[in-house]
């Protein structure tokens, strides 16, 4: 447990140092850059609120990937599920008109349905034809990308707009802000809480974890592997879809071209960095959001382009993962040496 914190913090430090080195090479002062970066993401209530709001899609897609990877299915379809969730929520918001609270609930459910359906398609292909979900979800990402691009340029396009986008959804479906903080954060906290509870305390979650660690053992122990596979895919698909829906409802209130950006892939990255831990996913999701949010502000007062955040993130991933595995190897060796010594005595 302690090792996890040590390797995580060590990894973050080393990655920030490498980032500083890259900036130095390009002739920037890394101290100024980092100061600006964290001032615009964590320095004060308003930046903090923005960081928390931007963390929502990252944390939820990260959670989706974490739970999937920890339970066995290689669900890499978060980008596609995210887009389908966003599309479902948007279309729902365009045609369904209900009182405020009810509308929000319906749209959130629709978003989860969209993501779950798209993940369910991959699960179905796996169940019926034994097609590897790894490649299938990746290909479905591209299909979803083009499909949503068609939907917002064709049947659901805002005729008054100059670029592909839908009209705004019903105002009742907009997530309100309390002070600086948008209520989308509440949904994230609830989703993380429920996921943690299901994954760590429920029988279903126990079976998922068991299947993820040793699928043969789980099968012999009486778990229904196929049913668990499908339920994990649906659950993680719903989480990714929820991320997409919330993004629409909290932010632009419509489906714009390029809405998905890199959120879902960043989520996959966060899951990998967090080693599929749910709490760690929440923390790293927030940290990655701080870097992304801060980078946008930093660009205004320094000469460094905001794209540096993408480089920083990738360096973070590689360094944190490598330091974790390297630490494990070193500890194993030490343990082996200690045992060898004990035997010798």
């Amino acid at each position: 447990m302690r090792n996890k914190w040590v390797s995580g913090l060590l990894g973050v430090l080393v990655a920030l140092l490498i980032g500083a080195f890259i900036m130095l090479l390009q002739g920037f002062n890394p101290l100024d850059v980092y100061a600006a970066l964290f001032q615009f993401s964590l320095g004060g209530l308003s930046p903090l609120a923005t960081t928390a709001k931007n963390a929502v899609p990252l944390v939820l897609t990260g959670l989706s990937a974490s739970i999937a990877f920890a339970s066995g299915p290689v669900n890499l379809g978060q980008p596609g599920q995210f887009l389908m969730g966003a599309l479902f929520a948007t279309v729902g918001g365009l045609y369904i008109h209900l009182p405020p609270v009810l509308e929000v609930i319906v749209l959130v459910l629709l978003a989860m349905l969209g993501g779950a359906l798209w993940a369910g398609l991959a699960a179905l292909l796996r169940m019926l034809f034994n097609m590897s979900e790894f490649i299938v979800t990746l290909m479905l990402n591209m299909v979803a990308d083009f499909f949503t691009a068609w939907a917002i340029a064709g049947p659901f396009m805002d005729k008054t707009a100059f670029s592909p986008m839908t009209p705004q959804i019903d105002k009742a479906g907009w997530l309100p802000s309390i002070g600086n903080f948008n209520t989308t954060i509440l949904f994230m906290i609830v989703a993380v809480g429920i996921s943690w509870f299901v994954f760590n305390r429920w029988k279903a979650g126990y079976e998922w974890r068991l299947s993820g660690q040793n699928s043969l053992f789980a099968r012999l122990g009486g778990c229904n592997i196929d049913r668990n596979f499908v339920s994990v895919m649906l659950f993680t698909g719903a989480l990714a879809g929820l991320a997409g829906g919330l993004l629409v409802m909290a932010g632009p209130h419509r489906f714009l071209k390029g809405l998905g950006a890199n959120y879902a892939w960043d989520g996959v990255m966060i899951a990998i960095v967090a080693n599929n831990g749910l709490v760690a996913t929440l923390l790293y999701g927030f940290f990655f959001s701080a870097i992304q949010t801060g980078a946008l502000g930093m660009e205004l007062i320094t000469a460094v382009p905001s794209e540096i955040s993408q480089v920083l993130q990738a360096v973070l991933v590689l360094v944190i993962v490598a330091s974790r595995e390297a630490l494990a190897v070193i500890l194993d060796r030490r343990e082996a040496r200690r045992r060898a010594k004990e035997r010798a005595v």
Binding site: F129, V136, N141, W150, Q310, V317, L318, V321
Partner: protein
Amino acid sequence: MRILVGLINGMIAGATPILLAALGGAFTYYAGIFNIAMEGMMLAGAFGAVVGSYFLHSWVLGIVLSIAFALVLALIFILFSVVLHTDEFVTGIALNLFAVGATTYLMRQTFDVKGVFANAGIVPIPRLHIPLVEKIPFLGEVLSGQNLMVYIAVIAVIAVNFLIFRTRFGMRLRAAGYNAACLDSSGVSTARMRTAALLLCAVLCGLAGAFLSLGYVTLFAENMSAGRGWISLAAIILVSGNPTGIAVISLLFGFSDGLGLLLQDYRVPSQFTSMVPYVATLVALYFYSVKERKRKA
């Protein structure tokens, strides 16, 4: 006839990057590495090619730089997965994302544009006109006048086939994947074979990238590899790494690419025609799993 020639040429152009990347992946496949970094290597190569071609005014140097950029990614892969024993899947995903981030950042830094860098100063890879063959009706239009990289890809199929199945190096490479412990105990370092496989893979992925940004089109766009690395991975899995099989599968994917372009003429929305190669991959995967099931039964 015009349509057919267009379709075939579209097929060849669509197949080339997938074929080159998949041939690179074949090396790592046989060496027993779960390499999913072809996507990133291709993207890095595409960026390197544009940088070289634009600043050094030569497509040859563009290709050299594209290979160099892809090799950088391969070296990082080697450092993490071969030296530090990090999980290959994790390393591959992180590298792909690193390639997207780094090329986007560097494009912004060096060219000061967002999204797409297109400039008349980028020298494309020339097309090769073969004398005499050029004159043959119909066949001449297909066999001659293709991009130079297309011919390199054809040669690469033969070369990779020879290297993997007919040389001592190839035998050791396959042994590294088949039984690493056995290879190590016979005095050949598995780590060294895997390093070689990854470097070779990067060279071919670099060529694939160079074709994308200097042949297929003459520009660099953010994330322009657009899943082709994943399709090439699917191609490798579908034929268990066999280079000739990879060539056939790549042509099939290329055909779906060309078909997509053709369908656009019949007023099918372009978003749907763009989906065709990815759906074709799913269909191919379906036939593969049916075949696998029959084999097992």
